[in-house]
Subunit: 154 residues, 2 copies
DNA sequence: TAACTGGAGTTCCAAGATGCAACCCTGCGG
DNA sequence: CCGCAGGGTTGCATCTTGGAACTCCAGTTA
């Protein structure tokens, strides 16, 4: 059975989860953020099967997170580059990294440190409200229906 | 073949992706954040198969994102509640919601609006650096090896 | 007392998805 | 002319999914 398609649910999380709720897609974007662009680069960095990688890259291109660019004219040679849509997934990854560091790190310490070059500090991602700048907590957030919420078919 | 296990990779994103890189897990946590606690509640809200749901809930309990609590003594009745570890996934979901709203919403507008009760505004999640409070962008973040990064076996 | 109901899961099965390894195609370098 | 590098496809055995039916158990209803 094909995995259920949640991309049309009236929920932005469900829609995002349709593309991002796949560990390979997440890791491919992460890898792309680290500068990898070529098929073999992804393959060896992630140890993913070539067929799966091929499938995922096409999906990410279809969804507009990556673009496939020919970088050599004479022979078929392509590379995959992040689009703005793809690049903006990074905050999600950084948030996951912060969560992973907090909850999934053993006594040996975190394997990865993110350095923010614009302020020159090692950083952690924090998710804040754009209005009050305070870190968010589920208990103080309510989800309401917005303009695009389907009205009860009446 | 079983899906490859990335939970021990020296990368907090890969580790987090091992649990969160599954759309059902994400949606179950989302649903739990909305207040759902019971098996049938998740089942009907998400339309997920009962077997899959059962499997995912056990996984989330094993990973410590949920706890299974008996809420009726006479008969077997359990509910699933978020732990702190599970609750702290919310910022990731909120970030995904913001991304989904920006990139996956049609002309009809967003189906969901998040209301921040502590400042009483409709909000969007923004991911900032904890040191300088500026929104982050991949191009100004470098990943470095941290203390837990395996040293090259020499 | 028998049948019914609701909650919480299992069990079964067919259709897909995954991982792995081997194979294909195209110019260039030696 | 051989081999290689880059970028994929193909085949296969094994898992995972989704759907639906079935199980258990203790109240409730008739």
């Amino acid at each position: 059975m094909r995995r259920i398609d949640t991309s049309a649910w009236p929920c932005t999380i469900a829609r995002a989860a349709d593309v991002l709720g796949d560990h390979w897609n997440l890791l491919i974007i992460r890898q792309a953020c680290l500068g990898t662009r070529r098929f073999d680069g992804f393959q060896t960095a992630l140890g993913i099967g070539r067929n799966i990688l091929s499938q995922r890259l096409s999906r990410l291109v279809d969804e507009g997170l990556l673009v496939r660019v020919e970088y050599e004219e004479s022979r078929p040679r392509y590379e995959y580059r992040l689009t703005d849509k793809g690049r903006e997934v990074y905050p999600i990854l950084a948030t996951m990294a912060a969560w992973g560091e907090r909850w999934l790190t053993g006594p040996e310490g975190t394997p990865l440190v993110l350095h923010h070059t614009s302020c020159n500090h090692d950083m952690h991602a924090v998710v804040v409200c754009d209005k009050c700048q305070e870190p968010i907590d589920v208990r103080y957030v309510r989800a309401k229906a917005g303009p695009g919420f389907p009205r009860p078919a009446s």
